[in-house]
């Protein structure tokens, strides 16, 4: 299924200035993505998983060059696109498209569906008039919308249908790579499956490459060939889906997997529950060395001093890598693990909330 590398990221770093003080601006930064490298091969689906503020969406936007990188390098289809100016990004914009999370927010409420789906044509000046209309209607049919609804407004569609509109827009220019940013997390369960199936069908027919971002691990497992787990701006574990889900090495991966609510009472009772202490620390001042150490049930002195590298652990195949000094062996019971770090070393209390935007703080109007 997977072929040559179509997107390659090398040591991508993205820092955002803390937007609050003009005097201190530039001194404090949010470490959204910190030295992340990854490869995406043609035709595969790579899942990026992690909790709020882990940097998965930022990373994806760096890959699409919607954001400028602080440092590092991104290649698309063999070309370095790291330093391209906005006007030279045309090819990237055409061939790498995005599907967004919010089926309400991602469609302009004041524009008709036909014009929204036809936007890529208008922006890139391909197809116009009747030709554009015909192509848009073909796209609508492709994603399972009634082409007669060309002149309707987004408000007249249900959540699932709106997401189809977003998919149609992303496919208009026949992209090679589609970045799906939590495409189903705002949808009701009964609709989620419809959209996931649609995405799977389209991938097969159009030979698409997906970068699939989600916080729902079951969904990611369902769609992805390979997954990357992120925590506080870093990839902590990555590899083929089944490999990672069955033999998760990083304690964080294990905790995350054990926290997924299972719609199966017996299985839910049987599996170990690893409840992590505390919250995700602030990305403005992330913990030293291994960023997970303050919450890690296995943390030891080494975790505070030496940053673990992303490499195969415990005899795993080279494709399965984890960044942990004390990887979890099969059958190991993490619920029993007690860290050797003292309470002071395990500062579990976040001094500030993850991202400034969500804390509800505000600037003077």
């Amino acid at each position: 299924m997977s072929g040559d590398v179509i997107v390659r990221a090398t040591d991508v770093v993205k820092h955002f200035p803390v937007q609050s003080s003009s005097l201190r601006r530039g001194r404090e930064v949010v470490h959204a993505v910190d030295t992340v490298s990854l490869e995406v091969r043609r035709g595969e689906t790579v899942g990026l998983v992690g909790e709020t503020g882990c940097g998965k969406s930022t990373l994806a936007r760096c890959l699409a060059r919607l954001l400028d990188l602080t440092s590092g390098r991104v290649e698309f289809d063999g070309h370095d696109i790291t330093k391209l100016k906005p006007r030279d990004l045309g090819k990237v914009r055409r061939e790498m498209q995005m599907i967004f999370q919010d089926p309400y927010g991602s469609l302009n409420p004041k524009r008709r569906v036909g014009s929204i789906i036809g936007d890529p044509f208008a922006v890139h000046n391909v197809a116009s008039g009747q030709d554009r209309r015909r192509q848009v209607q073909e796209l609508m049919e492709l994603v399972g919308l009634n082409p007669e609804h060309y002149n309707r407004f987004p408000a007249e569609f249900s959540g699932g249908q709106r997401q189809r509109i977003g998919v149609a827009r992303a496919l208009a220019l026949k992209p090679k790579v589609v970045i799906c940013d939590e495409p189903v997390s705002a949808l009701d369960v009964s609709i989620q499956a419809q959209v996931l199936n649609l995405l799977a069908d389209l991938q097969q027919h159009l030979n698409l490459t997906y970068i699939f971002i989600a916080h729902d691990l079951s969904v990611v497992r369902h769609v992805s060939d390979r997954v990357m787990l992120m925590y506080l701006g870093k990839i902590v574990e990555g590899g083929p889906s089944e490999e990672v889900y069955q033999r998760a090495r990083h304690p964080y991966s294990n905790a995350l997997l054990s926290a997924i609510p299972l719609p199966d009472p017996r299985a839910a009772q049987e599996r170990p529950r690893i409840v992590l202490v505390g919250d995700v620390p602030s990305p403005i001042d992330p913990p030293r060395a291994c960023r997970f150490h303050p919450r890690c049930p296995k943390a030891q002195g080494r975790c505070v001093e030496e940053e673990p590298v992303l490499e195969p652990r415990l005899g795993d195949p080279t494709t399965h890598v984890a960044a942990c000094h004390f990887p979890v062996a099969e059958g190991e019971d993490l619920t029993m693990a007690r860290p050797t770090l003292s309470e002071e070393e395990r500062i579990v209390e976040p001094t500030m909330v993850a991202t400034p935007g969500e804390s509800g703080e505000k600037e003077l109007p």
């Binding site: 919607l66 890139h124 649609l198 159009l206």
Partner: protein
Amino acid sequence: MTIPSAIESHTELAIEPGVAAERAIEGRSTWQLAWMRLRKDKAAVVSFVVIVLIVLMAIFAPVVASLTGHGVDQQFRTTGLNGFGQPVGPNGTFLLGTDDLGRDILVRIAYGARISLLVGVVATLIMVAIGTVLGLMAGYLGGIVDSIIARLIDLVLSLPFLLFAISLVSVTHPGLAVVIIVIAVFNWAAVARIVRGQVLSIREKEYIEAARSLGAGPLRIMFVDVLPNVLTQLIVYATLLIPVTIVLEATLSFLGLGIPPPTADWGQMIAESEGVYQQAWWFLVFPGLALLVTTLSFNILGDGVRDALDPRLERR
């Protein structure tokens, strides 16, 4: 397009009864919906009719003059003033009475409507135009552009309008154009601030990011994606600005800083009535009423338009 459209049969969906139930709003744009709601708002409809009547009166002011047979600046020293040289009250010849110079107040009110509406509409349009463009630029482009425009807005909002109007008029000669420009130059900032605020929140919407991810440039995004979303607010705001502008013009004229006499102007008529109105109440009341009815109608209509365009929005 070479994409096979066979996928459709695999994907479970289609136009199901759920949506059929939503047909209530099918195919109707925001404007059509707003128009439907507005028509149900009796107060707004009445005030709209009143505004139309006032506009007609302004347009056909010469007709009013010829019907009464009284020119706008014509002074009727014998019929229009009593034995003591005082104005006469409403009677068969002068329906709304005369002013201190024996001029027909009805005719002067009709002509005064022209100034009020002209200044109200033109100054508002200028304010909205300046405010929209600067607000859009500040809100969408951000950075240094925003800093400069935001400071400019702060500055203009810190200027006491009437005092600056007084200053400007004191070094120039008052007149229609000066009045319009003075009003527009010192009042666009409120529009700009509102637009900027709106744009700042719209900028965070995913559909803007979607447009950027498609490769749309800032100009296209500003005018194709952002502007239509501020438009409803703008229209509401403009409707509510017209009466404010009309009052500003009348106030300037009242203070003797507006349109110079003998041009008929409501604010000026009220100013001229001072000292006389104890005996000639009609001289104060009718121009005042004309002003009040006009501003009230615009305000009611503005509130109606706001409620119709966005029923959730109940602010200001």
